[in-house]
Structure formats: structure tokens, C-alpha cells
């Protein structure tokens, strides 16, 4: 039975890869700087749309961690995103106006780019509002982590999504490009997450946080998945299945211990709730290009969060990765 199951997953993986291969035609290259890439470089892949607000800090944050080259797929931005990225020395930019939804929320495009460029590299896949935190990230660059993961034969790092929010009404957030978003949205929910193992892919399905407790009371099952595996030592045979929630082959999803011990893990701080949240929401309700037909945005419209915000007296304030570890959201595993 296990053989049959494995074979099915293998076929599924091949199918996703074939799909990514087909979807490559939707991408046209705007700036190609892939010639600069060295064999040991750490690469970052991201699909974006109208992200002028976040990109300046995003780039400086990940450069600082030690990302050597960025791949962006711009999906029809109408602000200055393209111009801004053109001026960056370490960015390769692709453009497309094709449907985000039909590319399975960008997964197909990035799968193709990774297949083509990331083979043998440590590669990060994140959205422009996701900022990777890992144990010792304040003193050790990403390279220290990937070297250690290599030595430990760990091919992937899990980093759950942590929604960050400001105190007070969402509309009052005033974020300026280049600023650290977590100076403003510095609060998070520390302990209301639920975990369910997914037997098909072997990953953990994590839900909870401020969105679950504010928007998804009627349909708790539909609350957004927070488990992510953004950092992988890529091989051209790999592929992401749905967003960065799950990968194939299956073993890449097994980023946790089941015998009581702890493995290393990080966090993606989610800077979703900034100034442009209202306008993005508006646009997405029109475009209907997001997951679950933007159910989340509809739920948002009906709630009172605009006026009250997510903050509660039990919210935790973010001051660094060590807090997250103490709270049990991340772990250093055996890394000393």
C-alpha cells in the first residue's frame, strides 16, 4: 500500500512539474542578471503585485541576512514596482499578466523558475510581506544556518506564518517605505494555534492566530493555513504543491519530531496589516484571484476589526527571536 501511495505522489509531483513547465510561457523576462549567480549563492523567489510599499525594506532585510540573488515575478503591478526593481543590482525580474489563480497563486511560475535556476542552491520562497526569522538570526547570517542544515542533512526548514498587527484600529497604521514594519505592527498571538497532521503530505496543518479568532468563527475549518516551508536545499525534481505549505517529495515536509524532541524551526513574520490593507482588500474582492475566492476578505468586511484592530490585552509584543523561542513558537533544535 505504501508503495502504491508513494507512486501516486510521484505521479502527482511529475504532474505539477509538467504544469510548471507549461506555465513558463506566461513569463517574460524583464531583467536577467542570472549570470552573476555563484554555485553557493542563496536565492530568493517571490511573486509580487503592487508591492512598492514593502520592497525597499524587504530587499534590505534579506540582503542583510545573506540572500545573494532575488527572483521576482511581477504579476501586473500598476505602481512603481517594476521601475524600482529594475534599479536593483541583484534582482532578476520576470513579468506576466496571466491569471494568478490559474498559476495556482504563483506556485507554477516559481516552481518553473526554481527548476531552472535553483538546482543545488538553498532557496527561499516568500511573499513580499513575509520576513524570515530563525534562531540566532540576530547574530548569525543565513549562511551559518544553511551550512549547519547541510551538515545535519536537513533539507528544509519550516517557518510558520505569524500575523503581526498594530495596537489600535487597522486604518491608523502609518508605514513608510524602507521602515521596519515591525516597529509598527509589533504584536502577535502567542498561543492559540491548532495543529493537525496531514497524512497525505506528511506536513502539519497549522491554523489560528488573529485572523482565525476574528474572521473565521463561523467556519473555523476555513481559517488560513499558517504552516510554511520557505527554505529548501533545492533540487530540480522538487516542487511546491500549494503555496509554500507543502512540498513533494514528501520527506521535505517532515520538519518536526514526533518522539518528543524538538527540531529547528523559524517563523515568517507577516507584515500584511499595513496601510495598503484596505486598498488591497478592495482590489482582491474585485479581482477574485486569491485563495478561496477571497473568503477572508469578505469575512473581514463583516467584522469590526477595522475599528477595533486585532489587539487584545494578551497580545505579545515582538522583541526578537528569543521571545518566540521561549513562547514555543520556534525552536533552535540541536543548534547551539
Amino acid at each position: 500500500m505504501r508503495t502504491l501511495k508513494n507512486y501516486r505522489l510521484r505521479l502527482e509531483r511529475k504532474r505539477w512539474r509538467a504544469r510548471a513547465f507549461r506555465k513558463r510561457r506566461e513569463l517574460s523576462v524583464a531583467i536577467n542578471r542570472t549570470g552573476q549567480i555563484q554555485s553557493t549563492d542563496i536565492l530568493l523567489f517571490s511573486t509580487i503585485r503592487n508591492e512598492c510599499l514593502r520592497l525597499p525594506y524587504f530587499l534590505s532585510y534579506y540582503r542583510n541576512l545573506g540572500v545573494d540573488h532575488f527572483f521576482f515575478v511581477d504579476n501586473g503591478s500598476r505602481d512603481d514596482t517594476v521601475e524600482y526593481l529594475s534599479g536593483q543590482p541583484d534582482v532578476t525580474l520576470f513579468q506576466t499578466d496571466a491569471s494568478y489563480k490559474l498559476a495556482r497563486f504563483g506556485v507554477d511560475w516559481l516552481n518553473w523558475l526554481q527548476m531552472r535556476y535553483a538546482h543545488g542552491h538553498w532557496s527561499i520562497v516568500v511573499d513580499a510581506d513575509e520576513f524570515l526569522i530563525y534562531p540566532f538570526c540576530d547574530t548569525r547570517p543565513l549562511r551559518a544556518l544553511t551550512d549547519w542544515l547541510d551538515a545535519s542533512s536537513i533539507p528544509s526548514l519550516s517557518a510558520m506564518l505569524l500575523d503581526m498587527y498594530a495596537k489600535g484600529p487597522l486604518a491608523d497604521v502609518d508605514y513608510q517605505p524602507g521602515q521596519n514594519p515591525f516597529e509598527i505592527t509589533e504584536w502577535f498571538d502567542s498561543g492559540n494555534y491548532t495543529i493537525e497532521p496531514n497524512y497525505k503530505f506528511g506536513n502539519l496543518w497549522i491554523q489560528g492566530g488573529p485572523r482565525a479568532r476574528s474572521f473565521f468563527l463561523e467556519d473555523t475549518y476555513a481559517a488560513p493555513a499558517l504552516n510554511k516551508t520557505p527554505l529548501v536545499k533545492w533540487d530540480r525534481g522538487y516542487c511546491y504543491v500549494s503555496s509554500t505549505h507543502s512540498l513533494l517529495p514528501r520527506r521535505l515536509n517532515h520538519t518536526y519530531e514526533t518522539g518528543g524532541g524538538e527540531r529547528i524551526s523559524g517563523c515568517l513574520l507577516h507584515a500584511k496589516f499595513l496601510n495598503d490593507f484596505a486598498s488591497k482588500r478592495e482590489e482582491e474582492l474585485q479581482r477574485r484571484q486569491h485563495y478561496g475566492e477571497g473568503r477572508e476578505y469578505e469575512a473581514y468586511e463583516e467584522s469590526t476589526v477595522d475599528a477595533d484592530g486585532f489587539w487584545s490585552p494578551y497580545s505579545s509584543r515582538y522583541t526578537g527571536w528569543r521571545d518566540l523561542e521561549t513562547l514555543g513558537l520556534i525552536s533552535r533544535g540541536t543548534w547551539i
Binding site: 551550512d147 494555534y193 468563527l217 518528543g260 524532541g261 524538538e262 487584545s312 525552536s331 547551539i336
Partner: protein, 562 residues
């Protein structure tokens, strides 16, 4: 007295060269062995940078594979060269290319001079070592290992199992008593010469060629034959993690390494710029004769092992997910579950909050919402009081609550009318302290004016639910929780003693324990009789006699406290 170094290097040669030059500049002769697998171009580059150092030599290159004899061979050749070329060297210190000297060579010399004729080498009898990396200790010497552990792990394991099953064994050479220890040592010229010039060296070497990981046993075993004084510890601070690879030090370990007063540390991340700059600084001059004190580092290492073996009890998160109810703590801390108390006593939770150090919640699993202490909408960790969120994953709700409030004992009320899905989890959790006054759920019914047929239905339902819970709790093979059960009749006989028995560990003041007002039970016996007359059989509350004006406990209750 002079100490000379043997360095084995195979990667990050820039750093290895930097350390070798530093040692040489400090006046110590160095023999470097570069793994054969390093390209000739890299080797030449390395060599050219060492040109200006007359006291640096390169030994014959051997292809080193981890776990095999080749590493011992490389060490032998390099050490022999050092002894031959530098006659004034009387101590030989073995280091790797990723070692970093934490103290000056002058300090090391002074320390060694204070310990004349002593060999610093960790050497532990193979029968008695207890290292984390599985199983193979004594068997390293007695089994055969023709398959590469790195390349064909399965074959390696299967062949070991095969030999174990059929009792295939090698015979040990005479005079050999197997010892194991860290690969990194500091030996005297006399000991090394004695090992190298031993009459039976050929036989011994032939034997060790087939021993598993001989670099951790060859010298460690032979010193026992030749040394005069052995200090069984390494002057190099190094340890393997649970996977059997050395722990790595980074820039943020600077203070820790400085305080440790160890002579060498391994392994250093090649890009730990701050560490290399600080410890290879020639201006660093202070000479101390302090003993190495690696206690803090050891603590760090053992915490890492602890993390990978046991983790933090009661924590469920993205990289630790034992099945719910797993033995090493389904929850993070003890907590108390009370059933019936708040029906019997007025305003019980507030009293509990004041009289004990417990955080007293109401009914967390009530059907309308989770009644957190103080009626709050959210609680620690932003847990929501919404019943839908709670029931979506009731185990996560409880484990989260206990994890989020570690250090503050939690207590909540449970009731037959609540969502019972959690009861299995409660029963199986050894952190749960459950106290039940069975039948107390009848008190609010007794005081309400619900029409009687309706009331009878409710009572029957509640009694059935409570019965099920009690049956579950009395199943000794399943239940791990600490359980105390009183029937209502039994409890009110001596409420003070019973309360004290329940809260003994938590009471703030035990003298003059002032209990809250008890519900007035006059007429309760008649009420029960009326239920009986309606065709129901109330039994979990014990026996109350029908009497005018007062409650009399007639028959000793069947259920007794455990």
C-alpha cells in the same frame, strides 16, 4: 620545553592556514596534513602562504575517509615527521583545521610545564562509555565494518546486525584493553615514541585497520600500555551532537569561549570572523595559569541533547509534534479539574481564587463559551473564549492554555452539561488532578422551577454523562490523572476536610479555612424521592433520606475517594 602541533585539515583551508601561521608565529613547530582529496591547486596555494614559516612542514597526504583507518595513518605520519624534524619538541598536540586556540601558546606551554610527563588524552574503557550515538562501543573492536557508513548506511547496519545475530567476532590482540575517547589529544614525546616503536606495532596496526572509527580508539587504547601518567581529558573543547557531528561555534559564543579558559575549541564556523580576529590577535598577551573550566559550554551541549531527546514537555508546535496524550507530558504543568464544587458552594470560583494560589476559571468547556477567570473574552496567548474555536480542536485549546500559563497553576470547572469530548484527554493526562462531587449537578435542578418531566429528562441525561466519566476515570489501565471522587452525600459530611484534601498543595492559609456558603439542601431528599417516583433512579449523589427540615445521610455512600 616545547609543544609542537599536528594539524589535520580537509576543508576551509584559509582558516586552517591562518591558525597554522598563528601557531608558527608563536614559536611552535607545526606539521600540517592536508587531505588527499583537496585539489593540488588548493594545496599549492596553501603551501605557498606558509613559505615564510620555517617551522612549518607538510606531511605525506593520505585520502581520509571519516570513520576509517586513514585518519590514524595521516596522524601517525604527521606526528612521526614532527618528532623527527624537531628534536626539541617534547609535547605533541593534535588539532584539526577547524580548531581555534583560545589561549596563547605561552599559556599552554606554562600549563604543560606544570604537568610534567602527563598525557592529556580522553581514554575511557570501552565497556563503560555511554555516549549518545547509538550502540557501537565495544563492538567497534570486535565486529567487522567493510561497508561505508556514509555511503551505504543500510548495508553497514545490516552487516552489524548479521554479526550480532550469528556471534561473529574478531579476537583482540594480546595486551589490548579497548579504550575510547576524543580524537584530539596532547601526548609526550616519550609516549608517542613508545607507541610508534613498539615491537608489535605491525600487528596492532593491522588490527586497528579494521576497527570502526579508530581515530577515537587507537591512541586512546595504546596510551594505556605506554604512558606513565594519563589525564583522561582533552585540552580541546569539542563534543558531538546527537547526530554524531561536532557542535559548531559562532561569533555569538565569544564570551562563552573566553570564559571557558580552554586551550582549543572545535569546531569553529569558518566565517566566524569575530572569533578568529579575537583569538588569533597577537596583541592578546595576558598570561594566566587558570585551569580550563568548560562547565558552561558543557551545559550548552547537554541542553542541546536534551532538546533533541525530550524537548519541552507539553509543547505542541511546528517542529515538535508528539501525538496528543504522549507520555512525556501531554500538557506542560499540573492543573486541576473540578466537577460539582461550584454547584454546592456559592460563588466558589472567586473564593478559590482568593484562598488558593490557583487561577480559577469557570466552566471552560461550557456549551455557550469558555468561561475564563474574570469573564475575560481572551486569555493568555490570545486564546479566544469562542466555543466554536475551542471545539474545533479541544485538545489544542487545553494544551495551549496550560502551556501559555506555565508557572501559574490553572483550575477549571467541569460539568456533565459541558462538551465531554475532552474527558478522554483529561483522564489520560497525568498532569490532570480531577476532583468530583458526583451528583452535585442535581442541586441547580432542585432549586430551579423547570417543569418536572423536563427536569427528569435533564437529570437522567446528566447522570448518564457523569456515570460515563466516572467509569472512564476508574479504568486504571487508561486513566493516568489523579482522581478524587466523593458522592454529594459523602462530601457534605465533612466539607472542610474534603476541601483540604483536595487543595492541600495550593492553599494559601490553611488555618481557619473559611468555606464559602453551601447551598441549602433542605428538601433535597424529597426532591430525589420525587425523581424516583417519576421513574428515574438518581444514585450518583449517594443516599439522602426524606426528612422534614434537614438532611440526613442514611447509608454510607458506595463511591469513595481514592
Amino acid at each position: 620545553m616545547t609543544v609542537g602541533f599536528v594539524m589535520l585539515a580537509h576543508a576551509s583551508l584559509d582558516r586552517a592556514g591562518q591558525v597554522a601561521r598563528h601557531l608558527s608565529e608563536s614559536g611552535a613547530p607545526v606539521v600540517v596534513h592536508i587531505d588527499r582529496r583537496v585539489s593540488d591547486a588548493d594545496f599549492r596555494r596553501f603551501k605557498s602562504k606558509m613559505q615564510d614559516y620555517p617551522d612549518a612542514r607538510f606531511s605525506e597526504r593520505v585520502t581520509c575517509e571519516w570513520g576509517t583507518w586513514s585518519i590514524v595513518e595521516a596522524t601517525q605520519k604527521a606526528a612521526q615527521l614532527l618528532l623527527d624534524e624537531f628534536e626539541h619538541v617534547d609535547r605533541v598536540f593534535l588539532i584539526s583545521g577547524t580548531c581555534l586556540p583560545l589561549r596563547s601558546i605561552a599559556e599552554l606551554q606554562a600549563y604543560l610545564e606544570a604537568h610534567p610527563g602527563t598525557d592529556f588524552i580522553e581514554s575511557v574503557t570501552a565497556d563503560e562509555v555511554d555516549w549518545p550515538l547509538g550502540g557501537l562501543h565495544y563492538e567497534r573492536f570486535t565486529l567487522r565494518f567493510p561497508f561505508s557508513w556514509r555511503k551505504s548506511r543500510k548495508l553497514f547496519d545490516r552487516y552489524v546486525q548479521f554479526q550480532r545475530r550469528f556471534g561473529v567476532q574478531r579476537t583482540l590482540p594480546k595486551n589490548i584493553s579497548p579504550h575510547l575517547g576524543s580524537q584530539w589529544w596532547c601526548l609526550t614525546r616519550e609516549t608517542l615514541t613508545a607507541i610508534f616503536n613498539a615491537q608489535d606495532r605491525e600487528d596492532i596496526d593491522r588490527f586497528f585497520r579494521r576497527v570502526w572509527i579508530p581515530d577515537e580508539s587507537y591512541f586512546q587504547t595504546l596510551v594505556r600500555q605506554h604512558a606513565t601518567r594519563i589525564e583522561s581529558r582533552s585540552l580541546t573543547q569539542s563534543k558531538f551532537d546527537i547526530q554524531g557531528k561536532p557542535h559548531v561555534f559562532y561569533d555569538d559564543h565569544l564570551a562563552l569561549l573566553e570564559d571557558s579558559q580552554c586551550f582549543f575549541a572545535r569546531k569553529i564556523w569558518p566565517r566566524a570572523e569575530k572569533l578568529y580576529r579575537r583569538f588569533l590577535d597577537p596583541a592578546k598577551s595576558a598570561v594566566s595559569t587558570a585551569e580550563p573550566n568548560p562547565l558552561d559550554i558543557e551545559r550548552l551541549f547537554s541542553r542541546s541533547t536534551e532538546r533533541s531527546m525530550r524537548g519541552r514537555a507539553g509543547l505542541h508546535m511546528q517542529s515538535r509534534f508528539p501525538p496528543y496524550g504522549w507520555s512525556n507530558g501531554a500538557t506542560a504543568a499540573p492543573y486541576m479539574v473540578l466537577q460539582g464544587f461550584s454547584h454546592l458552594f456559592e460563588d466558589f470560583e472567586n473564593w478559590l481564587d482568593g484562598a488558593t494560589d490557583l487561577r480559577a476559571h469557570g466552566r471552560l468547556f461550557a456549551s455557550d463559551r469558555a468561561h475564563f477567570a474574570g469573564g475575560e473574552k481572551t486569555f493568555s496567548g490570545c486564546l479566544s473564549d469562542d466555543s466554536r474555536l475551542r471545539d474545533y480542536n479541544h485538545q489544542a485549546f487545553l494544551t495551549n492554555l496550560i502551556w501559555n500559563t506555565k508557572g501559574l497553576s490553572q483550575c477549571f470547572q467541569f460539568d456533565p452539561a459541558d462538551n465531554q469530548n475532552i474527558s478522554w484527554f483529561l483522564a489520560a493526562d497525568q498532569n490532570a488532578h480531577i476532583g468530583i462531587i458526583s451528583g452535585a449537578w442535581a442541586i441547580p435542578l432542585f432549586r430551579s422551577d423547570v417543569p418536572f418531566p423536563e427536569m427528569r429528562k435533564q437529570a437522567a441525561h446528566l447522570q448518564r454523562t457523569e456515570d460515563n466519566f466516572l467509569r472512564l476515570l476508574s479504568d486504571g489501565s487508561y486513566t493516568k490523572a489523579r482522581v478524587k471522587v466523593w458522592s454529594l452525600a459523602e462530601f457534605i459530611e465533612d466539607p472542610n476536610t474534603n476541601i483540604e484534601a483536595m487543595f492541600a498543595d495550593h492553599l494559601i492559609q490553611t488555618e481557619h479555612l473559611k468555606l464559602p456558603e453551601m447551598a441549602d439542601l433542605i428538601g433535597f431528599g424529597s426532591f430525589l424521592q420525587k425523581l424516583r417516583n417519576e421513574g428515574m433512579s438518581p444514585h450518583v449523589m449517594g443516599d439522602f433520606r426524606v426528612a422534614d427540615g434537614e438532611v440526613i445521610v442514611a447509608v454510607p455512600p458506595k463511591k469513595s475517594g481514592s
